[in-house]
C-alpha cells in the first residue's frame, strides 16, 4: 500500500539515512525508532510529502505520491511535533478548523471527538490555557474526526498521562483492525495489539 524505495534524506549538507526501503500494508503499524537527531521527524515529513527526499521514491497504491499530490494528501492525517493549535481560538474552534482544512466536514462530530479525548468540559476555553497534555489530546482528536486510512504520528504519546496513553494504544489497535495504516515514532514502548513492525534509523 505505502511503499518506500531506496529513500535517502539529507538535512543541511549531512545525509541522515540512505537507501531506506520498506512497505506498510493495510492493518499494519510501523514503529520508527532512533536516537535524538537520527532523522525520524525528517522521515515522517518526507512520507507526508512536506519534505522532498534527496533520492528514492514513495509510492501509494503503486503510484508515486508526487504524482498523486492532493489525492494522496486526502488519504493521510499527520500529527507532528507541533500541535497545530492556535492559542487564541477555543479548543472546539481549533478542532473545527483542523478538520475543515483536512477536508472533512463534520460539525456534529466535533463535540463527540472532544468528548472522546476527555476535553468536553474544556471545549470553550482558549487553547492557550490548556496544559501541554490537553493540547496534545486536542491535536490527536483530529484523527477521530478525519477518518483517513493513513496515520502518520510523530511522538503522539509525549505529554500524555498513563491513562490516555492506554486509550491511544486502543485507538491505534482499532484503526489497524479496520484496515488502517499507522506510521509512528515513539521513544516509549508501544503496546498495540495488531501487526506491528519496527525499524531503527541508528546506523
Amino acid at each position: 500500500m505505502l511503499q518506500i524505495v531506496n529513500l535517502t534524506c539529507t538535512r543541511g549538507d549531512r545525509a541522515l539515512f540512505g537507501r531506506l526501503s520498506f512497505s506498510v500494508q493495510p492493518g499494519e503499524l510501523l514503529h520508527i525508532q532512533g536516537a535524538n537527531g537520527s532523522g525520524k521527524t525528517t522521515l515522517l515529513r518526507t512520507l507526508c510529502g512536506l519534505s522532498q527526499p534527496a533520492d528514492g521514491e514513495i509510492r501509494w497504491k503503486g503510484t508515486s505520491i508526487r504524482q498523486l499530490a492532493d489525492d494522496y494528501r486526502n488519504q493521510l492525517c499527520y500529527i507532528g511535533h507541533t500541535n497545530g493549535i492556535q492559542g487564541d481560538l477555543s479548543a472546539a474552534e481549533n478542532l473545527q478548523f483542523g478538520t475543515c482544512v483536512g477536508g472533512a466536514d463534520s460539525a456534529a462530530d466535533i463535540a463527540a471527538a472532544l468528548e472522546r479525548v476527555g476535553l468536553a468540559r474544556a471545549a470553550r476555553l482558549p487553547a492557550k490555557l490548556l496544559s501541554q497534555g490537553q493540547k496534545r489530546r486536542l491535536a490527536l482528536a483530529r484523527l477521530l474526526v478525519a477518518a483517513k486510512p493513513l496515520w502518520i504520528l510523530d511522538e503522539p504519546l509525549t505529554a500524555l498521562d498513563i491513562n490516555f496513553g492506554a486509550v491511544m494504544n486502543e485507538r491505534l489497535a482499532s484503526h489497524l483492525a479496520a484496515g488502517g495504516l499507522v506510521i509512528i515514532t515513539s521513544h516509549q514502548e508501544l503496546k498495540v495489539s495488531g501487526r506491528t513492525h519496527k525499524i531503527s534509523l541508528d546506523s
Binding site: C48, G49, S51, I85, Q86, G98, C100, D105
Partner: protein
C-alpha cells in the same frame, strides 16, 4: 472528502478574522504606525499647509506602503510557529487558493483598514478634498497588490534569522511600481489632471498580482516547510 474547496476557504477566512478580533493589538499596531509615520513628516518638513498638501500624496503612499510591509510579518509567522501551516500544506485541496484566502483575510485586516483611515490623515496633510476620492480608490487598488506581493516575501523569509529586515529588502523593490502610479494618480488628481491611465495601470498590476502571487507564495511556503 465531503468538504469542498469553497467551504474550506470560507473556514480559513472566518478563522483569520476571528483571530484578528481576538488580538486587536496585532491589527492596530500597523495602523498606528501608519498614523505615526504620516505625522512624522510634517514634523520633519514643517507645518506650512501648502507645502504639506503638495507632499501629501507621496507621504500617504509611502506610509501606507511601509505600514503594509510591517504587517506582513504576522501573515504566516503565527501559523508557522504553531504548526497550522503544516496542516494547511497537507490539506487535500490545492494550496494556492487556500493561501489566496489567507492573503485576502490579511488584507481585510490591514490594507483595507489603511484605506478607511487614509482620508483622515489626508485631511491632516491638507490634501485637497477633490483628490480624496482618487486617494481612496488608488489605495483600494494598490494595497491588495502590496499584500499579494508581500505574501511572497513573507513566505520566503519564514523562520529565517533577521527575517524582518530581510523581508523589507526583498519586498520594497517590488513595491515601487505601485507606489509610483498610486502616488502619481493622487498628485495628478490634486492638480486637476486626468487619472484614468493611472487607474488602468494599477488595475493591471492588481490582475497580474492576483494571477501570480498566490501561486508563488504557495511555492515559497512549501519550500519554507521543507
Amino acid at each position: 472528502m465531503s468538504q469542498n474547496l469553497l467551504g474550506t476557504a470560507r473556514c480559513i477566512f472566518k478563522r483569520d478574522l476571528i483571530l484578528a478580533g481576538r488580538k486587536p493589538a496585532d491589527v492596530a499596531t500597523p495602523l498606528a504606525f501608519f498614523i505615526i509615520v504620516t505625522s512624522l513628516f510634517p514634523l520633519g518638513v514643517g507645518p506650512e499647509p501648502d507645502v504639506l498638501s503638495k507632499l501629501a500624496p507621496g507621504v500617504l503612499w509611502v506610509a501606507a506602503l511601509l505600514a503594509s510591509m510591517l504587517s506582513l510579518g504576522r501573515m504566516f509567522a503565527g501559523d508557522h510557529a504553531d504548526g497550522t501551516l503544516e496542516q494547511l500544506a497537507l490539506s487535500p485541496h490545492p494550496l494556492t487558493p487556500l493561501v489566496f484566502t489567507k492573503i485576502l483575510a490579511h488584507w481585510a485586516t490591514s490594507g483595507l483598514l489603511l484605506v478607511v483611515l487614509s482620508p483622515l490623515l489626508a485631511m491632516q496633510l491638507n490634501l485637497p478634498t477633490h483628490a480624496m476620492g482618487t486617494l481612496v480608490v488608488t489605495l483600494l487598488l494598490g494595497t491588495p497588490v502590496l499584500s499579494l506581493l508581500g505574501s511572497v516575501g513573507a513566505a520566503l523569509t519564514l523562520g529565517v534569522r533577521g527575517g524582518g529586515v530581510l523581508l523589507s529588502l526583498l519586498v520594497l523593490p517590488l513595491y515601487t511600481p505601485v507606489l509610483i502610479f498610486g502616488a502619481g494618480a493622487v498628485t495628478a488628481s490634486a492638480s486637476g489632471l486626468d487619472t484614468k491611465a493611472y487607474f488602468s495601470l494599477l488595475g493591471a498590476f492588481l490582475l497580474l498580482a492576483l494571477a501570480f502571487a498566490p501561486w508563488a507564495t504557495a511555492a515559497a511556503l512549501r519550500i519554507s516547510l521543507d
